[in-house]
């Protein structure tokens, strides 16, 4: 064992690792073809040691961060460490062997130094279509076989030579080979870059130093995380909520129960009591998704990169103090062959419930109820020449109010952090046109001293007939307020035809393989966040600003916030009536 490195070398090697991961992520999303990778950046990339510890990871989207070790452990069931050769490249997406979910395909390449396997360069990216039952996304399917291609630790390259049959097989089994094959090329380029840079790092500093540095960096991150957990009083903290339905049985909501058990500088998240697994794809792979959500929420809450000045490297260390318990056969730990592709809404809610459970003891670090959902829309159709087009769109939502600021409006919250697609780019390339993309103003966001964020409304119009699958939730369980804040608003989905805009049909949050006609408009309204603190304590100026900006109206200002406005003729229409406000607030508080 190498002796402890000096802090200077440690900082130097740590910086180099961080920069390698960033470069890997950059190559992947810049080179890629599908909008879900190149615009949304639904990807992750990093370096790993032979014990599958994360040495560094790109800071792309939280869902992918921390998921790759699960893939590597899954691959080992097929490719043991002794079977790796330089120039190999394994492709893997098996949801019961560590994958986050089946569309997130991993590309893994070994890193050798002086003839010895020292680690891996790997990345995952969300692929537009892997030949599942319905184009792009799935909800109501019977089992994992309906998810499409299952790639279980298969060597795509052996010692630098591509397996052309496998390559052809993949090309033949997706609806959009042009996108999927190009994206795989980008993943391979990114992994190759990681291999090269890792080898260079080993050459510069020597294997012992680099590996020792990675160990110490993990210890450092672990130390930082434990220090924060230790500040939370020991005890059990509970929260619960429910999901709309499983996408097939519309009569039954699905409970989520979270118990956060804090003991010293460790913590356990126990999901016992949550819904049993469901007969659709609305289940969560345990290793690749449930665990990752638990890691995420503690990191975001306790080592918040906005409020802390120190950069804590992203590695395995932050996971070590956290244990996750979910009984076999529950929605968070399904048993094969249950389908488990549509898993995001559940883990968003799980993360949000952890925040809720801990809010009484972490008032400065929590938020009010976030939208904590997903709107994942698969638009598709067949072009006149017979080619498929498939477009995956992630619609944002909003966050709950916070200890010192309003919840952000129209933003990617919690586990996701993708980018939207430029409407003009889509319009130029797809038979789809966006008719509306704005802040939701049909309902006010949750009132509070710091209000919740307003959700989004987005309306997409089909210019030719097509199909649609929508993975979403939260039409029923409203985002909560905290510390006197009021609740936010649920989401909804409306469908109508451009020619008949008054004939609006309400749709469930999830639906599969819906056939659409020319002119059909699909309007998604995301949930809005809950408020933080007593609305009567909100700065009246902020209430006026919200009225002038149209986030709330004059009546809501008065009813929810006790703020009275008077009409003025200055072009803005309204100004504060402070004496009336003070009187009303005094009366409301009494």
């Amino acid at each position: 064992m190498t002796t402890e490195l000096d802090p200077i070398t440690l900082q130097v090697v740590g910086g180099a690792l961080h920069s390698i991961a960033e470069q890997m992520g950059n190559v992947l999303y810049r080179m890629s073809y599908s909008s879900i990778i190149r615009e949304s950046q639904d990807l992750g990339a990093g370096l790993f040691d032979t014990e599958y510890n994360t040495l560094c990871e790109s800071d792309s989207t939280p869902m992918h961060i921390g998921s790759l070790p699960g893939y590597l452990r899954g691959i080992e069931q097929t490719v043991p460490l002794s079977d790796w050769k330089p120039g190999d490249c394994v492709i893997h997406n098996h949801p019961y062997k560590g994958a986050s979910h089946s569309p997130d395909i991993a590309i893994v390449m070994p890193v050798f130094f002086e003839g010895e396997l020292v680690g891996f360069s790997a990345n995952t990216a969300h692929h537009v279509d892997i030949g599942a039952a319905t184009p792009g996304l799935i909800i109501d399917v019977p089992d994992v076989w309906a998810e499409g291609m299952l790639l279980d630790g298969v060597k795509l390259y052996e010692e630098g030579v591509r397996n052309e049959n496998l390559w052809k097989y993949i090309r033949d089994n997706t609806r959009v080979p042009g996108l999927v094959m190009g994206d795989l090329e980008a993943q391979i380029a990114s992994a190759e870059l990681g291999v090269r840079r890792f080898e260079e790092l080993l050459q510069t500093y020597g294997k012992a130093t680099v590996l020792q540095a990675t160990r110490q960096l993990m210890d450092y991150t672990e130390r930082m995380m434990r220090r924060e957990i230790a500040k939370i009083p020991d005890g059990e903290y509970f929260a619960e909520g429910f999901l709309d339905d499983d996408g097939r049985d519309r009569t039954k909501t699905l409970p989520i129960k979270v118990c956060v058990r804090v003991t010293g500088d460790s913590v356990e998240i126990d999901l016992t009591g949550s819904s049993p697994q469901v007969p659709t794809a609305f289940n969560v792979p345990f290793d690749g998704s449930t665990m990752v959500a638990a890691f995420f929420v503690f990191r975001a809450m306790l080592l918040d990169t906005y409020t802390s000045t120190e950069f804590v490297p992203q590695n395995e260390g932050s996971f070590r103090p956290i244990k996750v318990t979910a009984p076999k056969g529950c929605i968070f730990n399904p048993v094969m062959p249950a389908a488990a592709e549509a898993r995001f809404c559940q883990i968003q809610r799980m993360a949000d419930l952890v925040i809720k459970a801990l809010s009484p003891v972490l008032p400065e670090k929590c938020t009010a109820g976030n939208a904590a959902t997903l709107s994942f829309a698969a638009f598709s159709g067949v072009r006149p020449n017979g080619d498929y087009w498939v477009f995956l769109e992630v619609n944002e939502a909003a966050m709950g109010g916070r200890p010192e600021s309003d919840g952000p409006d129209t933003i990617e919250e919690l586990m996701r952090n993708t980018r939207n697609n430029p409407l003009e780019d889509l319009g130029m390339h797809l038979p789809l046109i966006c008719d509306r993309y704005e802040v939701r103003d049909d309902v006010p966001p949750g009132a509070g001293k710091f209000r919740g964020g307003s959700g989004v409304v987005k309306s997409q119009r089909y210019l030719t007939p097509g199909y649609m699958t929508h993975e979403s939730d939260r039409h029923l369980d409203v985002p909560w307020g905290v510390f006197g804040g009021k609740e936010g608003a649920c989401g909804k989905m409306e469908i109508y035809n451009f020619e008949r805009p008054d004939e609006i049909r309400q749709e469930y949050s999830k639906f599969s393989g819906l056939r659409t006609e020319e002119g059909d408009v699909v309007s998604y309204f995301s949930p809005s966040g809950g408020g933080y603190g007593d609305p009567l304590e909100r700065d009246p100026q902020k209430v006026l600003d919200d009225v002038l900006d149209g986030f709330i109206d004059v009546d809501h200002a008065k009813e929810a916030y006790g703020v009275v406005l008077k009409e003025v003729d200055n072009g803005y229409g309204w100004d504060l009536d402070l004496p009336a406000t003070e009187a009303l607030r005094a009366q409301s508080a009494a």
């Binding site: 920069s19 930082m224 220090r227 975001a300 952090n417 319009g427 149209g550 986030f551 072009g571």
Partner: protein, 696 residues
């Protein structure tokens, strides 16, 4: 010919005056420095100009041309004190600026700020949606412009007292008729207002980036225009009658009129001068491949010059204060590492340097202004690399004991180091941070530093250059003649330059005659626009130069790279040139490129420039001496990176002559800079006084 360059920095305004006789006649250069006047930069500028005139013994009226790099526009964005802007946009899309790309700025945070929501360029109340609809892919009108709504909105803006308005409609890059008509109406209602349409500011696809760039242009427009006209008037009042040109983010210079209309092109006006100065220095040192690092008090600016050409940032990456700015900018990365960067041990026991900075107040501990935290400058002082007597030419007095004390208390004791070890550690960490940033702007983009020269400037640059050069594996290192004013010198050596862009969206491999005709038509129009601009600047025909570039991607990709176009009109015969150029750049950037993919052109960009007369430095008399005694000042103990303390001679840079060599260990000092020549290295004085430092 008398030309003056004025570079306004955060602390000082640097002024350079060049006086040259016609032809190859005698030429003299004068430099001076005045405190920046941040409430109105033009005060300091004029004061400095008058001061340099006095120094040079010329009358203000004799100045022919004045070149200016300004941070006015940038500061306005960072401090968010621009104009109250009104916006007309397409109905159904009122909040494009509020949503941005819906990605939050932090992955692991719940309490983060969203700058485009908390400090918007246009408040929601001032974004008014108008009935109108242009449709892709060909720009047909689905809903005509409702002119009454436009007029009503303009009346409202007027009543609200707004003085800037933008018109940003979806798909206006396909058809700008609605934007143009709306602009006319707004102009009728608000004749004095600053009005711009998105298709005029940046005529390219992607609504958020185009709208936000337009909003930023209007946000900084009125005040920037006022500043520039104040500057012009103030100069005139003081007898300066020169032609005034402003440094642009793309490394060119432009007129006051153009800069007032498109202030968005000025956001890197400040740091651009340094890079140009670096290129020019490289030029007269016969070095076309240069990595520049301009090291200041709190930050360092890094850029790469390849084959004598500036690298322009991919338009997808250009942003200022977290907001997209779709204009060409030199690829400059700024990192929070400089002389004032603070070293500390964090709560988890990690040793960190920066990005927190001691700033101007209290400044480094050795300034004795109450600073107790050790900085990079303190480390240099503690190691004997900065002499109290020569610090900024003795303009600021420093106390080495305070530097030692701060390092001892905050770093050495907690980590169990000696002061020397701790000071060396501070420099090692800061140099490493800078080197990683250099790598991100070079190696990560396919640049091999082994064939590049590292050039460090800014006062502290030459203290770090050799160490940085070693870490990144640069070929050698250059310390420019005047490291402290390289940026101001850069202003005197920039070309007049304009860029014009338009979206084209054409599949190159399968393009037909009509497609080529459309491309050539757009290119022709852009060329004509560019030509007219140079004409109005009075540039003779033979001095005008044009470059045509296509921003391309493989069909289905989302990011474009620049591929140069042939001079001749594009046709089936020569389109392969563009495709091949794109292939090459794709391969260079990503390590991969494809022959079986179709290349799509997304935008055409025409770059027009005209060379202006260049600053010429006088030749230095030949010395050819080794370690010239005439230039030696004294020796003092100095610690180098190997931790060994050696008696190290100081040389007076002003007394060194061409071809003189100075063997390390040595320090070469001048008024506002010190160059470190470590053991095992030799500095050679080049023809104009620049130093080239290489391993023996």
């Amino acid at each position: 010919m008398i030309r003056v360059g004025v570079d306004v920095g955060g602390t000082f305004t640097d002024i350079v005056l060049e006086h040259s006789e016609a032809g190859d006649g005698e030429q003299k250069v004068f430099v001076t420095k005045v405190p920046s006047t941040l409430h109105d930069q033009s005060e300091g500028v004029v004061k400095g100009v008058l001061q340099v005139c006095k120094l040079a013994g010329v009358e203000p009226g004799e100045i022919d041309m004045l070149f200016h790099g300004t941070t006015v526009a940038t500061n306005m964005v960072i401090e968010r004190n621009g104009a109250e802007v009104g916006m007309l946009t397409t109905k159904g899309f009122r909040d494009i600026l509020h949503m941005g790309r819906h990605k939050r700025p932090h992955n692991f945070s719940l309490q983060f700020d969203v700058p485009w929501q908390s400090k918007p360029l246009v408040k929601r109340r001032n974004r008014i949606a108008i009935s109108e609809r242009i449709m892709p892919p060909d720009g047909t009108v689905e809903v005509g412009l409702d002119e009454d709504e436009v007029r009503e909105a303009a009346e409202l803006f007027k009543k609200r007292g707004l003085n800037a308005v933008i018109i940003s409609f979806l798909f206006s890059f396909l058809n700008d008729s609605h934007e143009q008509r709306a602009k006319e109406i707004v102009k009728e209602v608000m004749p004095g207002a600053y009005i711009c349409a998105s298709s005029e500011v940046v005529n390219v696809i992607r609504e958020y980036e185009r709208f936000s760039s337009t909003a930023m242009n209007a946000y900084i427009g009125p005040k920037t225009a006022r500043y520039l006209s104040n500057l012009e008037n103030r100069l005139k009042e003081n007898g300066v009658d020169a032609i005034v040109r402003i440094m642009q983010s793309n490394g060119g210079i432009s007129t006051i009129e153009n800069s007032s209309e498109r202030p968005i092109g000025l956001l890197l006006s400040g740091p651009a001068g340094g890079v140009i100065g670096g290129r020019w220095t490289g030029g007269h040192c016969d070095t076309g491949n240069v990595i520049t690092i301009d090291i200041g008090g709190t930050s360092a600016d890094i850029s790469v010059i390849q084959n004598g050409e500036l690298r322009i940032k991919n338009p997808r990456d250009t942003e200022v204060a977290s907001l997209p700015v779709l204009v060409p900018m030199i690829d400059i990365d700024a990192i929070g590492a400089g002389g004032g960067s603070i070293a500390y041990v964090d709560a988890g026991g990690a040793f960190r340097v920066g990005p927190r900075s001691a700033g101007a107040t209290p400044g480094p501990a050795c300034y004795g202004n109450g600073g107790t935290e050790p900085t990079v400058t303190d480390a240099q002082v503690a190691l004997g690399r900065l002499d109290p007597a020569h610090f900024l030419g003795g303009d600021i007095s420093i106390d080495p004991d305070l530097a030692v004390k701060a390092i001892e208390e905050k770093i050495a004791k907690p980590l169990g180091f000696t002061v020397t070890e701790a000071a060396l550690g501070i420099l090692k960490v800061i140099n490493n941070n800078m080197a990683l940033a250099i790598n991100a702007n070079s190696v990560a983009k396919g640049i091999d530093p082994r064939s590049f020269t590292l050039m460090g400037f800014g006062g502290a640059g030459p203290l770090h250059s050799v160490a940085l050069g070693e870490i990144i594996g640069a070929k050698d290192v250059i310390a420019p003649l005047q490291p402290g004013i390289t940026a101001a010198m850069g202003l005197l050596v920039t070309d007049l330059q304009y860029e014009y862009t338009r979206s084209v969206l054409a599949f190159l491999d399968t393009a037909d005659e009509a497609s080529f005709a459309n491309v050539n038509k757009i290119a022709g129009e852009l060329m004509a626009e560019a030509d007219a601009q140079l004409e109005s600047d009075g540039i003779p025909k033979e001095a005008r130069r044009f470059k045509k570039v296509m921003e391309c991607r493989y069909v289905g990709q989302g990011f474009e790279l620049r591929a140069e176009m042939p001079d001749e009109p594009l046709s089936a015969d020569n389109v392969k040139v563009v495709i091949d150029n794109f292939f090459d750049i794709h391969k260079q950037q990503y390590g991969h490129a494809f022959r079986d993919q179709v290349t799509e052109a997304v935008t055409i960009r025409v770059v027009a420039n005209a060379a202006v007369e260049q600053l010429r430095l006088p030749d230095l008399p030949k010395g050819g001496r080794a370690n010239p005694e005439d230039a030696q000042l004294y020796t003092r103990k100095t610690v180098f990176d190997d931790g060994v303390e050696v008696e190290t001679p100081r040389y007076d840079r002003m007394k060194l002559l061409a071809d003189d060599t100075v063997a390390g260990p040595a320090l070469i000092t001048q008024h506002n800079s010190t160059t470190l020549v470590p053991p095992g290295h030799t500095a050679t004085v080049l023809g104009h006084g620049d130093l080239r430092i290489a391993r023996i």
